[in-house]
Symmetry: C2
Subunit: 436 residues, 2 copies
Amino acid sequence: MAKVGKISGFPEWLPEQKIAEDTVIGTIKRIYESYGFTPIDTPAVELLTTLGSKGVIDKEIFVVKRLKAEEGDEAELGLHFDLTVPLARYVAQHAHELSFPFKRYQIQKVWRGDRPQKGRFREFYQFDIDIIARNDLPLSCDAEVVGVIGLVMGELPVGPYTFRINSRKLLSAIYGALGLEGDSRAAAIRAVDKLLKIGRDGVAKELALISGISPAAIEAILRSTEIQCPISELATRVAALQLSDPLIEEGVQDLSTICALVPAEVARGLTIDLSLARGLDYYTGLIVEVSLDNYPEFGTVVAGGRYENLASEFTDQKLPGVGVSIGLTRLMDLLISEKLVSTLRKSPSIALVTVYDESDRPLCNQIAHELRTLGVSTEVYFKAPKLGKQIEYAEEKGMRHVFFVDASSRQIRVKDLQTKEQVDVSSIAAWAKSLK
Amino acid sequence: MAKVGKISGFPEWLPEQKIAEDTVIGTIKRIYESYGFTPIDTPAVELLTTLGSKGVIDKEIFVVKRLKAEEGDEAELGLHFDLTVPLARYVAQHAHELSFPFKRYQIQKVWRGDRPQKGRFREFYQFDIDIIARNDLPLSCDAEVVGVIGLVMGELPVGPYTFRINSRKLLSAIYGALGLEGDSRAAAIRAVDKLLKIGRDGVAKELALISGISPAAIEAILRSTEIQCPISELATRVAALQLSDPLIEEGVQDLSTICALVPAEVARGLTIDLSLARGLDYYTGLIVEVSLDNYPEFGTVVAGGRYENLASEFTDQKLPGVGVSIGLTRLMDLLISEKLVSTLRKSPSIALVTVYDESDRPLCNQIAHELRTLGVSTEVYFKAPKLGKQIEYAEEKGMRHVFFVDASSRQIRVKDLQTKEQVDVSSIAAWAKSLK
């Protein structure tokens, strides 16, 4: 007998957990689609040359090879490790068939070929949105992405959260005014990105390693990271750094423009946080992160930003974009383990038609058929044992309404398992309507 | 620059095709859920020992290995090639946490590690349902699966189709009455399974290779394959074979019971077809196939049946089941290439709010926000070029309604791109309501 067991890092939900996940997916999809984001789906595999296109492959990749491949056949395919590389390849490949700005959402599994280790997923769903334009992308798109994510967060059962935004342009301008350019500036951004992990002193030490940096610059950078405020205070707080540079003003202005275009309910909750740096090199403007106040150790649940050129490895066209990624599987893992999803039901059905005698089944089926036509997800018990056993099944699966059918009199009675009330039903349509 | 291109056998849709696919998926899901089938999702990979558990691995498998795996590390994981092996492993592993009968649906990609060849998918979606019980599974479950598939087929835009069912039990009884048992019987079933491909004479030749088979038996088997009739005629047609055996009567009775429990609209369309054999060894009762009358070369769009023991490789429990699989990607490929999906829209949005001047954008956003709240998927144009360009964008993406906003007077006008009519809108809520 083959051994069955969990493969470390490849999560698998029970039905009630999968139903909860589908509910969360449905909520996010509804909001994305209400803004006209269109779904795409790319193959699970890409050419290894595509996956490695952003320079060194620093994420571990799973290669895919035919079991019956000839000895010595080189692997050519790998599972995608994010949805950004596939998006870049997709947009470059299909550019002539797409309408720009191209607004897409994509929910798919991604794979990380890590060594198995506790608490680390090697397969998980990501749920991304991006807006890609040709040549130039106005700030209205940054605002749209921030707005959409704000609305999504408002509907997720995660409790209070912190939605932080910043601008790479502003960071670059500040660090530039302090004399840091090119590699030194990138090193400073990477150092600041570690603030939460290594603390202020740790960052100071890392900054000090940058060649040519002055103690005053280190001090100013550390002071800038303390700017964590609503947009209304940003200009004053930045002015207090006493660095004069038109690019700094531009960075502040960009963030103000973005915040002004975001739905008021979302804008109110935004924190401008100059300690937010995001390590990845390719961000050039807005950067965003959402974290959960009650679960600080969880890290970010949403992250992303603006990049000046998405697909430069695949096409000569300039394709700037802005987008974010939701780590869906990690989020579901939290919602499930912290019991933040309220109802865990094992089945989509809410009604069970019991079968008193096998000869009644055609009538029971007919009643169930009518219920389904009226939008009530319904099961008919598959055998005809004692009614108590059938009611137990309904309870176990979380169905609320149990139908009893008297075939001779054609009388139908329904019990509400929650209120324990029983009523006679003369019209199924009327009963179904009363549910809404 | 990395070369981008199609990887043979890994299909990828354009947005308008993906939206069409999502519509089909939504239809099928709605019907599955109305019967209380619950979604599950298993990892893309299984242990190779699990994938090979049904004996010889005759389907080509893609193995999955860390790119940075140590030299000589044996591959342990493979991509699943269907959803039946993962279901068997899932049910065996989680049996103590599931409610039986376990009714699940599952839509996921599967992978076949074939050599690349024209017209053959190596990655595709399957959309399966199965009902798994403990120890014994009544015919009511067979009927439920047939009924659900009948309802699904009734809603797919595929034109006329043929829904054929048969019973392996009946076939076995007939072939048994003709003196064929064990391996000989299995060989006869495999020969009959090729009827469409190799014709009557071809099957006769294959049957003749079975050791100990009589010419009369060959003739009787061939005659039995001509039985293709509604259930009402089955008993008479089978009686005409003049084979007496209680198991034959039982097989006929099973099919009658199943048909009587299927919704009348589905039952009317069923053909009992004794030439339907399905090659796979594990079917023991009902077998089903649906094919499309207008596309005979397409083969089957739905196929499945009953198996006495799903997970015998993984558990000592007896878990009989019945289920079918829809080849979703092949189906979508047909729907798209034959233009059977009516509307191909590039975006979920149906309305565009144009922006006359960048300073109007906050007001435009507000109008769009209200529309979205009312369930109207809406985009705001991302820049403020000439209105003609913005209308073109709406047309290109298939949005029907274009809003024009006069910021000074706060007047809103909407143009219906289909009827070319323009109306002033004083209440957005009233306008949105008029859409329904």
